[in-house]
Amino acid sequence: MINDMLSYLGDAANWTGTAGIPARLGEHLWYSFLAVLAASIIAVPLGVFIGHTGVGKVILVSASNVLRALPSLGIMTLLVLLMGVGLLPPVIALVLIAVPPILAGVYAGVANVEPAVVDAARAIGMKDSRIILQVELPLALPLILGGLRGAILQVIATATIAAYVNLGGLGRYIFDGLALYDYGQVLVGAVLVTALALVLDGLLALLARVLSPDRRLVSR
């Protein structure tokens, strides 16, 4: 099986064209990017609102726990039956798993800013919008990035399901390999997804270090 994988990876023909490894990697990243972007657009404002005002904390916790429990492949299949095959069903399924970690990160980051700091900002005449943008968000950045990092990893790992329907991505190797009892190819998919996840996680860790206003908060 390992040999099959190595010979697959060693074959130059598998590195070119629309079914080649770079193309599949690109597709995988594209689906993941769309999902994380959409999830951020939903989760960041919501998390800021709840963290800043404290309204709806209970609903947030229960709702995001419910979202975490949803099986992505099942959701995607259901969406395919409702909407037909296409890019939307897998991306929506991925958005659903990306929202909880981002929401939790943003909410926790904003809610945990020292009240004294917020009070001080208010005392020097800052309005709520400025407090959020210039005080709370910068201080919350490490936790926000942590949530984003978790979301990206989960999405990268789960984006393989897109290949269950007619899309590409690294899951193509896994589904095609399983269908043909070609476990070398399955392993190619698994190893590439793993490698992609590790590389991205490393890059995000670096990014968190560079962007963080206080390094001690990031490297705990």
Binding site: M1, V85, R149, N166, D176, V186, T194, A197, R220
Partner: protein
């Protein structure tokens, strides 16, 4: 560093997960059981999809009503798992499909006609210490299916007619359809049919594939002949005059010498009445909106056919 652990763990468990998945279909991974069943007990089994479980239930209920002690082990997996299980005695009887079973045992077998399969199969099974009973007329085989509208627009009756529209046809099917000899390579060889694009959908001709066909996202799809979606959506099964898809009649397979005459008779009586349309009806009850339990559907059918001795 606690942050690093979770993603790393997630990544590692993905690899582990894929290895487990891969292991599932590995014949050597099947646990060999001690000779569990005594000769008076018949262990009836099925492959891991609803139709097989329904037919398994037909066998089990018929044997029960004929006074046999029946143990059931349904959904045990694919051919890679259950053929060794039959040979080592962990199960005694399972429904299978003639063409694929023959090709599984002898990949170079002649499967060009239904008769060739039926004449070669007993001998092939004997080499594995297995035996077959009479095959049913019911056939669950691959087919190229189009909507009624497409069939009428292009005047399609056989797969060969589809070849005239190669450039316009997008075909859906499970990923293996693209590579297997009986899939696209066979359709090209036999009929010159080469779709402009192939859309892999991994639900084995299930609801997502049917939806893509009905939505017009694809023009043709690889769907099984016993799919309830065919009558439900008035789909047209294109004829396959050159037998590109090998015949797949339902056939009971048993470990050699496991079933006595009475048991064989009871199973043969089922096969004699099981036609493709009857099988579609059974599938409809279990997989359709009614959601009847396979066992209940089996009992009802056997009663209707007068096969349950009371």
């Amino acid at each position: 560093m606690t942050k690093m652990k979770l993603p790393l763990f997630a990544a590692l468990s993905m690899v582990a997960g894929s290895l487990v998945l891969a292991g599932c279909s590995n014949p050597t991974a099947a646990t060999p059981s001690e000779d569990g069943a005594s000769s008076s007990t018949v262990t009836v089994s099925s492959a891991n999809f609803p139709e097989s479980e329904i037919i398994g239930n037909l066998y089990a209920e018929a044997l029960k009503s004929n006074g046999y002690t029946v143990e059931t082990k349904f959904n045990i997996g694919s051919r890679e798992a259950y053929i060794p299980a039959l040979a080592d005695g962990s199960i005694d009887l399972i429904p299978d499909y003639t063409g694929n079973l023959l090709l599984f045992i002898d990949p170079s077998a002649d499967v060009s006609t239904p008769a060739a399969i039926l004449s070669a199969l007993p001998k092939a099974l004997e080499s594995k210490s297995l035996s077959m009973l009479t095959a049913a007329e019911a056939e669950d085989k691959d087919a190229v299916v189009v909507t009624r509208a497409t069939a009428e627009k292009w005047k399609l009756t056989s797969i060969a007619d589809l070849a005239a529209h190669n450039d316009e046809v997008v075909m859906a099917g499970p990923p293996e359809f693209k590579e297997r000899a009986v899939g696209l390579p066979g359709l090209e060889k036999n009929y010159g049919f080469v779709p402009s694009k192939f859309e892999p959908i991994s639900d084995g001709g299930g609801p997502a594939t049917v939806k893509a066909l009905l939505d017009g996202k694809v023009t043709a799809a690889n769907i099984f002949t016993t799919s309830t979606a065919i009558p439900a959506n008035d789909l047209v099964v294109l004829e396959d005059p050159k037998n590109n898809f090998p015949a797949q009649q339902v056939v009971p397979v048993a470990a050699a010498g496991k079933l006595d005459d009475g048991a064989q008779k009871a199973i043969d009586a089922i096969s004699a009445k099981l036609s493709t349309s009857e099988l579609i009806k059974l599938n409809e009850q279990v997989s359709g909106d009614a959601k009847v339990e396979p066992q209940q559907a089996a009992i009802t059918w056997l009663t209707d056919q007068g096969l349950l001795s009371k």
